[in-house]
Symmetry: C2
Subunit: 304 residues, 2 copies
């Protein structure tokens, strides 16, 4: 019999959804115990419980980002799987939403409306614009598909995979500045790893055209926040849309609150919906119960 511990704000919702599936050989427990072999939950809560879970075999993260659980000093003697394949649709809606908001000048038109100005100024289009995706995993592939649907020219910068057919041109390794050259939009979908820390730095921002807009839906740590503030203050780029930050919630005294041409969305781009995550868990539980390899296993060394 497997013992499942759920460590999440929505734990009752998760339990109800999993109970509906009537999984075999599965019992629920509500606290850390010596015989708990499966945990489903938020990475930070799992991290805090690890020392009390000697029998842990498998932890399913309900989030994509699993920073608290990886790295050289982390415990490695269990299988860690994260949430993947469920955020692509929401992330695509988010990215398209802010790309179109920019092209359509929808904040300016609202201001004009408030001032009773009949503003017929020209509107832009996504068609033909060049977008660069920093990171082309399962979410990046979905964003590539959506931006391609609108006729954009799609570049991808990625460590290895070239699996998305919606990317027009791939860039790798030290070709980062060529990737950035001429972009209308730069979107970071990168996880937080040793390799991605502050990859969006002064050099990369300087390589962008001054009309470019930067969007971050990956992790805040991938951005050198000081360099971004400098780029926006000096109009080196036209704007930024940030969903994620080095520190969340953003401290009240952070300069981002008063940086020009910066929009913030407070880590809402792609929420983990219990319905979606439960489907993943159930699928993986069946594999686990049959002794088969699990889906979306995290490599503790790579960190994703």
């Amino acid at each position: 019999m497997h013992q499942l511990l759920i460590l999440a704000q929505d734990k009752n919702k998760y339990r109800a959804l999993i109970e509906e599936a009537r999984l075999v050989n599965l019992e629920f427990t509500t606290q850390t115990a010596e015989d708990v072999d499966i945990v489903l939950g938020e990475p930070s809560l799992i991290k805090a419980a690890l020392a009390s879970l000697p029998a842990l075999c498998w932890a399913q993260s309900i989030w994509a980002g699993i920073e608290p659980l990886v790295g050289p000093a982390s415990r490695h003697d269990y299988i860690l799987t994260n949430a993947r394949g469920v955020f692509g649709g929401l992330m695509s809606e988010y990215v398209i939403s802010y790309l179109l908001a920019h092209e359509r000048k929808i904040f300016k038109r609202l201001d004009d409306q408030k001032n009773k100005i009949w503003d017929e100024s020209e509107t832009g289009t996504l068609r033909g614009k060049i977008i660069g995706l920093l990171g082309v995993g399962s979410i990046g592939a979905e964003v590539a598909r959506a931006t391609k649907f609108f006729g954009m020219n799609v570049r991808g910068y990625t460590r290895d995979s070239e699996t998305s057919t919606h990317v027009d041109k791939y860039f790798h390794d030290d070709d980062l500045l060529n990737f950035a050259n001429g972009l209308d939009y730069l979107v970071s979908i990168l996880p937080n790893t040793m390799d991605t820390r502050k990859i969006v730095n002064e050099d990369l921002l300087n390589a962008l055209p001054s009309h470019a807009v930067f969007i971050n839906v990956g992790r805040g740590a991938a951005v050198d926040e000081s360099a971004l503030i400098e780029a926006l203050n000096q109009n080196k780029i036209a704007g930024a849309v940030l969903d994620v930050f080095e520190q969340e919630p953003l401290p009240k005294d952070h300069p981002f609150w008063r940086t020009p041409n910066l929009l913030m969305t407070f880590h809402t781009a792609a929420p983990s919906l219990p319905e979606d995550i439960t489907k993943l868990f159930i699928e993986n539980y069946k594999l686990f119960n049959e002794g088969k390899p699990l889906k979306y296993q995290v490599d503790f060394e790579r960190g994703y």
Copy 2:
């Protein structure tokens, strides 16, 4: 030899683009004259010139809407073609832009940012939402394709054609209120004809759920503006996004300027780009010069 008169604000741009194509048997003229047989231009300017164009054979409108030139009392002894097939992409971007702005609460999040509020409130998604398209011509079909891409459930209300494969269910004739029942979004893409005048009236607005949002990218005349103001003031629907109006520019004393939950975009949804319209003109000119039927002919009686 054909004599072409261009009647448009951008006439020099149009002339330069057409000259590049080196069309055979075509001469340009800069004023109304007895031998002008082709006009390319804005419907209202063509209307004003009609009496001085006795030899007119073909008029190509640079806009989709050709109200000034149709109706029972209008001159019928020439071929009128309008602009079609070029607005679908821009219209789709417009509609998707405001659908996502609503789901993503992007105006609210900007307000929260201004007030330094870390607003993690839930975000919506287009997936699974029900959208009703009033009018499924060439533009409607493009909007259907884009909304289907985002996983929406697409209904179409149309006079006859059922050609778009991206519409899940078609409605006709007196089935208008069933069409409206349960919609999350209602989008009018209707032209201004006798049959469409004030089709968006109190009955139709009452048939919508209170969380529904109405978007008008067709013609202002299709909406009973008083009924819409009433519906918004009484929260019978959640919001409206209007690109077109009975009278344009909107008079400064029009109640729309102070109606709650109303966004206006000042007839900017899908501008006629000379590059696009010139392609249409050139294609049609070649057919005209060879005595073949032209594309996008307007039926003077139906009015579109």
